[in-house]
Structure formats: C-alpha cells, structure tokens
Amino acid sequence: MHDEVAPDRPDSRALMAEIERDVRERRRTGDLDPDFERELDVVFAEVAPPGAFGGGFDTVVDQAARHAVVDYDVPIAGRRPLRMVKRAVKLLTAWYMIYVGRQLVAFASTTLRALRILGGRVDALEARSPATDPRVAATFAPVGDDLDATPFAGAVTQALQASAVRGGRVLHADCGDGALLVALKGAGIDVYGVDPRSDAAARADALGIEVRREGALDHLRSVPAGALAAVVLSGCVDRLTLGDQIELLDLASSALVSGGVLALIGRDPGAWSRAMAPVASDLAAGRPLHSSTWAHLLSSRPFTGVRVHDAPVSVPDAVAASDDPAVRALAAAVFPPPAFAVIALRR
C-alpha cells in the first residue's frame, strides 16, 4: 500500500496546451517533417490487408473470395518422424478433405454470388440517388468561399457565459481560416478547430490556433461523450446530405457536456441558392436547411433554450431609411438574412 500524498497534480488542460504548442512550433520550424507525417497517414493502409480500413464493398467481397478457396495442401513440415506421420495422415485423409472442402467451396461461392448480385442492386439504387452518385458529385461545385462566422462570436460567447459550464474546450468545425476561433480565444475561451482542407488549416495555424486536419463527422466520432463545453458547426452544416446533417447533430449532442452550448451557423437556403450557379445548386448532394428546421431538430433532441440569431442584412439605403411597414415587409421578403446562428444548450 502506498501512503505518500501526491504532489500538486498538473493542470491537464494547461499541460495539453503546452504539448500542442510544442507540436505547432516544431511544425513551424520544420523540425516535424510534413512529408513524413503524410507518409505515416498512408503507410499502414498500404501494408494492411484489403478492407482493413473500409476499402468498400467490392474490396471486402474480393477478400472473402480469397478466403473461400480451400487449400488442400496441408503443410507437413517438422522433424523427420513427425513429418512422416503427417505425410501419411495427409495421404490417407486426402479424399475426405477434398469431399468436405468441395462442399465448403460450393457454399462459399454461392454465398459470394448472392452478395455480388445484392451489391449490384445496391449500386443501381445508389446511381439513382444524387447524394451517392459519383457522376453527380463530380458535377457539383461547392461555394468556394467560407461563410464568415465571426458576426456570431458575440452570441456564442454570451451563450457560453450564460451557461452553467465553466472551463472546457470549444470546438469549431469547419473552422476555415480560424477567424471565429481567434475572436473566441480573445474572450479567454479555450478553443480548437478542425477543417479537412490543409490550406485553410495552415492559415489558422499561422494565427496560432490549434487546428486538426479532419472532417467534422470524423472528428466528432472520436470525441469522448461529454468532453466539450461548446461545439460550433459551420460550413459542413450547409454541405452535407440530410442524413449526415442529422448524424452531425447527434454526434455534437453526444460530445457536449451537460449544459454545454451548440451553435449551428448556416446560410439561409434562399441566399445560398442565389449565390450558387443553377447547375451547382440543382446537383448539390446536400443543401442548407432553414434556421427553423435546425430549431425543430434541436427541440426534438436533448437541447433547451433554442434561439435563432440572424446575421445583419444589407439593404439599399432608401429601403433602410423607409418607415413604411409595407416597404419593410417587402424588404424582409426580398432581402432575407444571408446567414444565421441557431444556439441551444445541451440538457
């Protein structure tokens, strides 16, 4: 039994911040070789068997086909007397092994054939779904510029201050160049971001913001339950398919501590479709949801205090100066807010 008293425990958050700063500094100075880090990302996948990292349906079925072939040539290596015995057993039981083996191969090949037929039917179904058809995905050109999330920094900060959560990390996905994170960090909030685009993440790195090169869904799947004080989602919320948008919401809900803040910063669908070329908007795999839709989705999940914050609208001066209610109503219809933040607290 150990009787000693532990010295002061290190502040784990400060320690991790120092460790992450060390990594960033070594990346900046070139101590950490980016080529080597990239190589590490792929090298294990290259030496692993097909299907170890997903690899798709066809890869896994091909692997099953390899395993379906029964090898009748039983190894008989060993020291001389043992090898002789093994050889004799092999010869004496060959007819039996082949008889049983053929039945196994017949069963496996029939099952594989059924799987391939099923795969073909799923392929045909997917080809009719714009979200999964690669020909449609190739046509779709996403909006190039990121939505500016910084107008909502104040609303997010206020929601955090009003919540019962003290401390804890705040995640922004997709954080782009990290402008919102810079604003939140300036308010003394412990922040980090994720963004799958290396160029955007590199710009955030340059601002001294910790950014991981990862997609929002992939990252949130790896975050332990209740680990985050707040989650801010932008960019991805407008691009993902409906199924992925809902999964994103559920993952964020799981990652949040009780009382934590979720902020969904999205484009208004009307503003989005006007900003997009017709071909791109018609063929987009995913599209923005209305703020009321997000609010509805949040209210059917463990969230409370759902509030919608609209971004400022720029309207012609003459319209802005008008006191006529009819003009104002018309302006609201013609110039809807281009973006919004839906903010809620995790129960």
Binding site: M1, H2, E4, V5, A6, P7, D8, R9, P10, S12, L15, M16, E18, I19, E20, D22, V23, R26, R27, D31, L32, D33, F36, E37, L40, V43, F44, E46, V47, A48, P49, G51, A52, Q63, H67, R169, R212, H219, S222, V223, P224, A227
Partner: protein, 363 residues
Amino acid sequence: MTVPSSADPLRVHQFLPALSPRDAIGAHTLAMQRVLEDAGLGGGIFAAEIHRDLRRHARSYHDYRPRAGDVLLYHAAIGCALGDWMAGRSEPLVLDYHNITPPEYFEVWAPETGLLLAQGRAQLTRLAPRATLGLADSSFNAAELDRLGCPRTAVVPVFIDPTTWGALDTAARDELLATKRGTDWLFVGRVAANKAHHDLVRAFAVHRRTWDPHARLFLVGGVTSEYQYALDRLVTRLGLDGAVIFTGSVTPGVLGAHYAAADVFVCLSDHEGFCVPVIEAMWWGLPVVAFASTAVTETVGDAAVLLEHKEPALVAAAVDRVARDAALRDALVAAGRLRVDHFSPARTAATLLGALKTLLVAA
C-alpha cells in the same frame, strides 16, 4: 426455477469460457473465489476450457450439478457454447461483464475471433435481461449492460493483486537497463487491432525522428492474427527494425522487468473494457500517457496524461514531455500510486460483497 429457501445456503458458482494463467479474467475469477469463500458464499469454478496448471481450481461446466440456493455467476468476455448453456439455466444469474470487443476490429485480421466476439455479443444480449444482477469492470461496461436491459448493475473493478505477480526477473531488468540509450516506451496487451499497436508505432516513429533517435518501443503481449504480420511490415517500412521490439507473451517476472525498466507507458487503445496494464504500470511507478477512449478514461482517472486524439506528433510530444519533465513525472507517478490504491483487492472485495448483498437480501 430453483427457489432457494431460508434453509438453503447461498452458493455462488462461477462460470467462464476459459480459465487460464497470465490472464486478467482468470486471475479475477480466482481472486473472486477467495472473497466468496471468505464470505461463506463460495461455490465452484466451472469452465469450458481449463489450463492444465489450473485444473485443481476448476471443473468442466458439464460437471455442474444444481442444488437449491445456487447462484450462477457468468464471466462474459467472448462467445462460446457455455454462453448458450447459461441462457438455458433457470438458477438466478449474475453477469460479470468484462466487455466484448466489437467484432469489427477483428473481421479483417482474425475472422474466427470476430465470429466468436459476435457470438459473445449475441449471447450477452440474451443473458442481460434475465440476469438478477450485472457486475461490470467499469461504468463504460455497466452502461452497455443497462442498454441491453439488465435490471440492476454495479461497477466492480477487476481484481488486481500485486502479491500474486511473482518475483521480478532482475536479470531481465538489468539487461533492459544496460542496453537503454534513450526513452523506452512500453505497452502491454495482446497484439490486436483494437489496441491500436499501429498507432503506437506511428507515434513512436515521429518521436524517434524528431525528439529522441535512441528511443525504443517495447510491445509486450501475445500475438494473434494477420495484424502482427502487417505491423512487422510497418516497422520495416518505417526503418524501425530493432527499435520496436515485440516480445510476445512473457513470464510475470519478465513483465515486471519491462515495467521496472521502461520510462513511460503509452496506451493508444481504441477499445478497452477496463485496461489492467495501465494500473499495473502505475503500481510499478511508470507514468502513463493514454488516449481517452472507452473505459481507459475512467480507469486512469486523473493519474495520466490523457490525449483527446492520437495524432502521431501529439503523442510523441506528450511522451517527450513526460520523459523530460521530472516534476510532471513525479506528479504522475504519485497520482498513479493513489490510483492503484483505489483498485486495491480489499476495496474491490468490499465492493463485490456490497453488490452481492442485494442477492442475499432477495434470498
């Protein structure tokens, strides 16, 4: 159903798929048996497979003969015919859930093991709702039992009893210390994909290249499946032959030597139901760096550097920090020792008997 009367002494019989030495569940079963016997509740140990060194402790489950007052305690960890047999019994059932690794981790590397795990999960789904009580090594495991409809659960950690570990192999330790030139990383656990040895190797490669060219990584644990073959090729591709050492299964004395000689214990497992080796490492005074996944987070408590993600550079930097920073190291070691006390056999025994008291009351 056999209904015990007040005249029938309550006996808790333990059932498990395999009773093996050098195995956390085997050691846990034997320790639990001592506690049950001391409390006057001891029944027998019954297993599907029994290692020859432990045959005096257990019998085949086919030899079990029911008596009034019997309670059957099943250690669920993998699928086997015994699980189906348990589902058909009418005696009061206590499940001791040690976690069943999701089969996806094994489907590619060891399909047979994947099938057994899938079978184990299916059996657990059937057993959990009809159990009188579910014991779980961790809250993580208990939550799974709750989801499966187990009517009552209690967290009873794995018995970890250092007095049963045997003597340290000092020659092995001295050899490890004599050949040390840099930071020695250590991980202990079966070489299996859920334990993410490949992430350890990748992080270690960054550490060697950027922080410590003389570092070594010792991976102690039995080997299964094609995963080892892929790891061997990964080590060679990264030019780490000789620096990454797979020891295979070792004796308790050699295991102690590795704990005694290493500088930092690094666990990047994706899925653990408890993770006994991190507590062993703490007992040996090793600082721990761990990825915050599944039950690892609650097992280490605040006595480890917990990583929210395992980007290789981050892991490498964390290990370097622990190896270099004497104050941090001392704090982690001291916190680790307190954590070991939290899992002392006496404390676990009290927790177990407290949980079983509900059965006594019912009887």
